[in-house]
C-alpha cells in the first residue's frame, strides 16, 4: 500500500515538474530576465490557478526596451502572444519595460473590463509599484496576481466612489478595439462588396447596350459668351455646430473584431 502511494505521489511530482514550466511559458514571459526560474514557475502557477477558476487570464511580460508607446506595445504583445482565456480572450496583462522603467496594465474582453475598470486598475497598480520602486520584482508580481485574483473572485466592480480621481501621472485607455482575426464585418465585406461591384459593373455595361436616350439639357447649343450671370450674391446666414463624442480610446487603432459594449482593450500606463 505504501509502495502504491509513493508511486502515485511520484507520478504527481513528475507531472507537475513537467507541466508547470510548460504552462509558465504561457502566462509569464520574462524576456528582461529579472526573475529566476523558480520565481517564474511560482508566478505562473499562481496565475494559472486563477485562469482556470474565473475564465480570465492573468499575464506578466517583461522586456528590456520598448519601441514606441508602452501601452500600444503591450497591446500588440497581447495579440501577438495570443493571450486571453477562452474564446473571448479575456485577460489582464502587466507589462514592464525595464530600460524606460515604464509599465502598462491592460485588460481585454468584456468580463475582464467589467472587473478591472480604471479605478480598480489604480488599486492593483498601487500594490506593486512600491515593490518595483525598490526593484523587488517577485514581490510586486506576486502582489499583482493576488490582487487580481481577489478582484476576480468578487466579480464585476461596482461604480467608483464619487471622490475617485484619476492619477494625473498615468495615462488611461478605454476599450480600444483590436482584431485577432476576421470578424463578421470582414466576412460580410467579402460577400457583399463583390456582389455589389459585380452588379454595378453589369448594370453599367447593360446600360451601354442602349445608347438612345432623350436629352433634357441643351448645353451644346449655348452660344459663345452666351452666359451672362448678372447677380452673384453669397450671403452668410448662420452657423451650426455638431459635437460627436469619439468612443474609441486614445490608444486608437485596431479595427476589426469587436466584442460589443465593454469589449476590446482597456487599461493604463505609467512609470515605476
Amino acid at each position: 500500500m505504501k509502495k502504491k502511494l509513493f508511486t502515485a505521489l511520484l507520478a504527481v511530482v513528475v507531472m507537475l515538474t513537467v507541466t508547470v514550466p510548460a504552462m509558465a511559458a504561457e502566462t509569464v514571459y520574462d524576456m528582461a530576465g529579472i526573475l529566476d526560474e523558480t520565481q517564474v514557475t511560482d508566478l505562473a502557477y499562481m496565475a494559472l490557478q486563477q485562469e482556470n477558476e474565473d475564465a480570465c487570464g492573468i499575464y506578466i511580460i517583461t522586456n528590456h526596451k520598448t519601441s514606441g508607446d508602452v501601452y500600444e506595445y503591450a497591446r500588440e504583445l497581447y495579440v501577438q502572444y495570443d493571450l486571453g482565456y477562452g474564446e473571448t480572450k479575456d485577460g489582464v496583462l502587466l507589462y514592464l519595460s525595464m530600460s524606460e522603467r515604464e509599465y502598462a496594465l491592460l485588460t481585454f474582453g468584456q468580463y475582464a473590463n467589467s472587473v478591472f475598470p480604471h479605478y480598480v486598475l489604480d488599486a492593483v497598480s498601487e500594490t506593486f509599484l512600491d515593490d518595483f520602486a525598490s526593484d523587488d520584482w517577485y514581490s510586486g508580481f506576486s502582489d499583482y496576481i493576488i490582487t487580481c485574483r481577489e478582484y476576480l473572485v468578487s466579480g464585476p466592480a461596482a461604480a467608483p466612489s464619487p471622490d475617485y480621481e484619476y492619477n494625473y501621472n498615468d495615462t488611461y485607455y478605454d476599450y480600444t478595439v483590436y482584431d485577432p482575426g476576421p470578424g463578421a464585418g470582414a466576412v460580410a465585406a467579402v460577400i457583399i462588396i463583390p456582389l455589389a461591384a459585380a452588379l454595378i459593373f453589369c448594370l453599367v455595361i447593360k446600360r451601354r447596350m442602349n445608347t438612345a436616350r432623350a436629352r433634357n439639357e441643351a448645353g451644346g447649343y449655348v452660344i459663345q459668351n452666351g452666359v451672362d450671370i448678372r447677380v452673384r450674391q453669397d450671403i452668410f446666414t448662420h452657423s451650426t455646430r455638431h459635437v460627436q463624442q469619439i468612443n474609441s480610446g486614445s490608444g486608437g487603432g485596431g479595427g476589426g473584431r469587436s466584442f460589443g459594449a465593454g469589449g476590446g482593450f482597456s487599461g493604463k500606463s505609467g512609470r515605476f
Binding site: 476576421p182 470582414a186 466576412v187 465585406a189 467579402v190 460577400i191 462588396i193 463583390p194 456582389l195 461591384a197 459585380a198 452588379l199 459593373f201 453589369c202 455595361i205 447593360k206 451601354r208 447596350m209 442602349n210 445608347t211 438612345a212 436616350r213 432623350a214 436629352r215 433634357n216 439639357e217 441643351a218 448645353g219 451644346g220 447649343y221 449655348v222 452660344i223 452666351g226 452666359v227 451672362d228 450671370i229 448678372r230 447677380v231 452673384r232 450674391q233 453669397d234 450671403i235 452668410f236 446666414t237 448662420h238 452657423s239 451650426t240 455646430r241 455638431h242 459635437v243 460627436q244 463624442q245 469619439i246 486614445s250
Partner: protein, 359 residues
Amino acid sequence: MATNVTNHKCPACTGPLHFAGESGRLECEYCGSTYDVSYIEDLYSEKEQAAAEEFHESADGSWKEQTREVFGDEVVCYSCPSCGAELICDENTAATQCPYCGNPTIVPAKLSGVLKPDYVIPFKLSKDDAVAALKNFYKKKLFLPRAFSKDNKIAEVQGVYVPFWLFSGTAEADVTFQATRVHTHTAGKQRITVTNHFRVRRAGTVTFDRIPVDACKKMPDEHMDSIEPFDYRELKPFSTAYLPGFLADKFDVDAQTCSERADSRAIQTAYDTMAASAVGYTTCVPIHKNIRVKRGEVSYAMLPVWMLGTTWKGKNYLFAMNGQTGKLVGSLPVSKGKFAAWFAGIAVVLGVVLGFILL
C-alpha cells in the same frame, strides 16, 4: 391619279440622279455624270413649281380621289413620272423612291410655300458607312448575344431627311440656393462639425442657338436626341436637289408643340449653369427657381439621318446614325447568359481577392 411629283433625271441620259454625300454633287448611276446642286436646282425649279401648283389645284378639286385608306391609315397616291407606276405614300412623304423603276421622286408641294424648310444639312456619309458603323457598334458589347452579331442581317438601311424645328432664344434665370460649407476638426475626444449656412442667389441669362427638336412623329425622340449634335456650319439653304436618293417627310408636329421640349431643355441648362456658378460649397439646394425662356428665331430644317433596322427573335431593333457626323445610337439585345456569367465571374474573383486580403 395625281402626277404632281417630279423625278430628278440625268440631263445627259435621263437616268436617275442621286445626291452623293462624298462628292456633294448629284451623280447619275448610269452614265456617271455629276452635276452641281445649283445646276440641278435651276433645272428643276420650274418643274417643281408646276408640280406644286398642280398638287394644290387637284387638292382643291379632286383631293378625295387621291387619298385612300389602307389598313386604317390615310395614304396618298401619286403617279411616277418615269414609269407611270402608282406610288403609295403617307400624307407627309416629301421624297421617296419609285419601287418599280427606282427613280427618286420628290413631292414639291410638301416642301414649298409655308412648308418649305429653311435649311438642309446634306448627307455626308453613305449607306456603306452606316452599315460599317453598325457593325462597329456591335464591337466591345460584352452582353451582346453572339448569334445577333454573327448571324443577324440588317433588314433595312434607309437615308432619311428628318424634319427638325430649330429653336433659338434666351433663358432668363433667377435661382436662389440654400448652401452650406462644412468643416470638421477633432478636439480631444470630440469631433466637431461646423456648418456655415449661406443664401446664394444667381441671376442672369443663357442664350441658345438652334436647339433641334424632331418634328416627325415616326421618329423616336430618344434616337433623334441622341444623335446630336449636328454641325450647323454646314447648314445650307434648302433645296430639293439634295433629296434624290433619300426619303424625306414634311413635319407632322408643329413648332408650337415642339417648342415645349426645346424650352424644357433650355430651362434645365440655364438652371445647371446657375448652379455650376455657385462654387465652393459642400451642399447647394435650390429653394427658389424662376426661369423663363424668351424665344427667338424658329427655323425649319431637314437633317440627315440613316435609319437601320433589324429583327431578332421577333423583336425589332432600331438604330439611327447622324448622316453628317456618323454618331450611331440604338438599343441592342442583352444575353441573359452572358450577364449571369460576368456577374458570377466578377463576384467570385473579387470575393477571393478580398478574402485573401481581409480574412
